[in-house]
Symmetry: C2
Subunit: 164 residues, 2 copies
């Protein structure tokens, strides 16, 4: 089955660290995303410090799983120098690539949205002392401790041919 | 090699139609994308009408390859009912999933950005008579007629650990 169909949002993790080699693969996947005019308006913070992860779990009501995650990858959105209006798209593609590569590496992961919600990204900036760019998302990563049934979301009613 | 690392932007296509079964796989991949609160703020238009594709190739200077593409998939961004601020993220993840599934199906594809550039999405709305939602992107798809060397974009200088 295609990697794209295998991916699920995994929020429960084993108490087991993630190998540095796997984290590097996730970062490679993120940076391999397409971006408008290849502007690559991104940096990445890898957080594995337990106290910092605990702090970050208080970013929003949907960030609780960071308390159990082995690591968080936090892509930062920078000002795109060629197509600034498409920087959100670029960072989203990078985030999705990281989620898919996590699946490919038998890891579990979930996307926690930050940008453009100011109360979220400012909170993360304070915790991590970020001075340049804004935290775009937080990707919680760990070895999965839950199994979920695959639900196909395909809905024929949402497909149109040649006209809406 | 991981699907995520195999994907490339392919802009030259063979004069060969794409099977309906493959197009359905691309749509499945798009709709399987994660979305904020699972809001799925999307519909999809599949365009294979030659005259319409020719018209759409004039949307912007970066849309010329639609003249040779067998098909275009056009995700529409709708108002997200639960997390409207994250609808762009949701549609970007769906677009990236379609690009990756195209790679998985030995097809070539490229992401043409539309939303939020008004002059682009309004042009597409007029060509396709769209009344609900806005054209978010156009994904040109066809059998590849170019081979590109894989360039790894990983850049260690963009990675930080625990602090920026």
């Amino acid at each position: 089955m295609s990697l794209v169909l295998q991916r699920q949002s995994i929020r429960k993790y084993k108490d087991k660290p993630v190998e540095q080699s796997k984290i590097k693969q996730l970062l490679k996947a993120g940076m391999q995303a397409p971006s408008a005019n290849n502007q690559q308006p991104w940096e990445f913070i890898v957080v594995d410090d337990r106290a910092l992860l605990d702090n970050l779990s208080e970013t929003s009501s949907g960030a609780w799983m960071l308390k159990d995650a082995a690591v968080a990858i936090i892509p930062l959105i920078m000002t795109g120098d060629r197509s600034p209006k498409f920087a959100i798209q670029d960072l989203s593609a990078a985030t999705e690539n990281i989620l898919l590569e996590a699946t490919n590496q038998s890891l579990g992961a979930v996307w926690i949205g930050c940008y453009p919600k100011e109360e979220r990204y400012k909170f993360v900036e304070e915790v991590l002392n970020i001075k340049k760019g804004h935290p775009f998302s937080m990707i919680a990563v760990g070895y999965p401790d839950e199994e979920k049934e695959m639900k196909l979301r395909y809905d024929e009613k949402r497909v149109h041919f040649n006209k809406q």
